[in-house]
């Protein structure tokens, strides 16, 4: 238990370090946000007034202290270009990105586990080899191009969904999830293909172990041997990958949102980068840092749940 507590503390520290680095990076780079907002033609008076309004005339260390204090309370300051609190700006966009990430993660797990077991049961058959080659190709598809292919085939071709027809979860949860399935699939496919090959080799190794034979000797069907005995053991070395995949999927979501016209963190992050709207960029990066650390923490817990031996060997 103390170990978990230590992890949580170090996670908090990590987030704090990221927050500091991000703030300092944006504070020291050349380029004046006031100039960016008003243009180079603006009069010095107007610029100074805006700088004062933005709080840019306060010394850096004091600004930094105020900002950090705000972050701890969930206040990220005001956006330069939208003239509203950053927290309000991203409040309804954050859940969209989180849901998309988790959705992709679930699809990745379900796909990789079921296909890996299917292929491992047919090890060395023609079908198995076909799946191996197919996953090798899928692994190489960049998610955004995967999104375009999905739009082309399932959206424009088969008309299973209307491209660009995003429905907010606040309006219709069912339609929201129906639409989000496709971008989630685009993110999940390449990661799922990687998870597949890791799980597959794990299953094939586990299947040769003695306990698999014991399981058969008790009258288990092959399906039960795989799902009830081999799967969990095969997952142990893949858990780390799952954790990294989850973090990568946050990045994937931000890109895929652009393909499917989803109003998540991605779009606002990109426009803010282009407008040099640093408070927004900083806030989103801190949010992502929190998501990444939380997902690392979850993986750590998952590891302990899946493999009972880790708890003892601490």
């Amino acid at each position: 238990m103390t170990n978990i507590l230590k992890k949580i503390l170090s996670s908090l520290l990590t987030i704090l370090v990221v927050a500091c680095l991000v703030f300092l990076a944006f504070a020291v780079i050349p380029g004046d946000p006031a100039v960016a907002k008003l243009g180079t033609q603006a009069t010095p008076d107007k610029l100074n007034a805006l700088r004062h309004e933005m709080g840019l005339d306060i010394p850096l260390m004091k600004r930094f202290a105020t900002w950090i204090a705000g972050v701890i309370h969930g206040d990220f300051g005001n956006s330069y270009s939208y003239s509203m609190p950053v927290s309000k700006l991203i409040a309804d966009k954050l859940p969209v990105t989180i849901i998309l990430t988790l959705y992709s993660f679930v699809i990745m797990i379900v796909l990789s586990v079921s296909v890996a077991i299917f292929a491992a049961r047919k090890e060395n058959s023609g079908l198995d080899r076909f799946i191996q080659i197919l996953t090798q190709v899928i692994m190489s598809i960049p998610p955004f191009f995967g999104g375009i292919i999905i739009t082309l085939i399932f959206g424009l071709g088969l008309r299973l969904f209307a491209p660009g027809g995003y429905v907010s979860y606040g309006i219709n949860m069912f339609k929201f999830l129906g639409y989000m399935f496709w971008p989630a699939l685009a993110i999940a496919l390449p990661k799922g293909a990687m998870a597949f090959s890791l799980l597959y080799s794990g299953l094939v190794t586990e299947r040769k172990k003695d306990y698999a034979r014991t399981a058969y000797s008790r009258g288990n069907s092959t399906k039960d041997v795989f799902y009830k005995h081999l799967l969990r053991n095969a997952c142990i070395p893949v858990v780390t990958f799952f954790g990294m995949a989850l973090a990568d999927m946050i990045a994937g979501s931000i890109v895929i949102e652009q393909v499917f016209g989803i109003p998540g963190l991605g779009r606002i992050l990109l426009t803010s980068i282009q407008n040099r709207d640093y408070p927004v960029v900083e806030a989103i990066i801190v949010c992502i840092a929190i998501l990444v650390t939380v997902s690392n923490l979850l993986v750590d817990v998952l590891y302990r749940v899946i493999d009972p031996r880790t708890v003892i060997s601490e």
């Binding site: 990590t14 991000v22 190489s140 990568d248 980068i273």
Partner: protein
């Protein structure tokens, strides 16, 4: 994964062919393309494939083949540059921290782990946000973003090597630390390094395409595969070829390199 083909190295052959199919035109594309990549023509707007323009033309009437060639050379160069920055800096940092250990190593690794746990695409995105867009900025952003992955691998090798007999005997023979690090240990890390360089190249290619797709990577009028994919979305219904050409190019490049990484040449030594 088990290799299904016992004698022939299937991965090596197919990997080489696929990589060559994309990389040769990409190298040619640095110096020469069939048409000027920026030459527009209103009469050729969104035209399909023809003898003169095998992949057709885009929404400005620019030759897609020329743009794919030029875009892949950008991708190739950025990929190589990124790998170079990442591998050199990563090897240096990993070698020093892994070899000496101690407090500096602890702090560095703590920091490195934080960086590593971040998706490299997001890391690059932050660097681009700080440094601005463009080819050179992208090169450095990606290069720095990928350093942590090399540090991890190289450091682990050095920590392992530190206590091995050949290193101890080299030290006893009076070799300096620098000599032990780079003459004795470094050649032994080459195998793992080659594999991570190949993986790193692919990740860099995908990240470059991703950032350019988002519009914050390579800036127009420079051609880039990611940007071409982004532009193609509007015309997806009428001219899917506009998306397919750069998309397939990316897949073939990444697939070819990852097959090379799985070939016996790299995995067995």
């Amino acid at each position: 994964m088990k290799n299904k083909f016992k004698n022939k190295d299937f991965n090596l052959i197919v990997g080489l062919i696929l990589a060559a199919v994309v990389i040769i035109p990409a190298v040619v594309g640095i110096f020469w393309t069939p048409y000027d990549t920026e030459a527009m023509s209103s009469s050729l707007k969104l035209s399909g494939s023809s003898l003169a323009h095998p992949m057709g033309c885009d929404n400005f009437g620019r030759d897609i083949l020329s743009r794919v060639m030029s875009g892949s050379s950008t991708t190739l160069l950025i990929g190589l540059g990124t790998v170079l920055i990442g591998a050199v800096a990563g090897t240096l940092i990993g070698a020093l921290t892994g070899y000496y250990g101690g407090l500096v190593d602890d702090i560095f690794m703590r920091f490195n782990d934080v960086m590593f746990s971040f998706p490299s695409l997001l890391l690059a995105l932050v660097f681009v946000a700080v440094m601005g867009s463009g080819r050179m900025q992208l090169l450095f952003a990606l290069g720095i973003a990928f350093i942590p992955s090399y540090v991890r691998i190289v450091r682990a090798e050095y920590v392992r090597a530190r206590n091995l007999d050949y290193v101890k005997s080299a030290k006893l023979a009076g070799a300096s630390d620098i000599r032990v690090m780079f003459v004795h240990i470094l050649p032994n890390t080459v195998k793992v390094l080659i594999n991570s360089v190949l993986i790193g190249f692919n990740n860099a290619v995908l990240a470059e395409a991703g950032l350019s797709f988002l519009g914050i990577g390579v800036q127009p009028p420079d051609a880039s595969l990611g940007r071409m994919l982004a532009d193609s979305q509007t015309y997806l219904f009428n001219r899917p070829g506009m998306a397919v050409a750069p998309g397939i190019t990316l897949i073939v490049m990444v697939l070819g390199i990852s097959l090379l990484g799985k070939s016996k040449l790299v995995t067995e030594r």
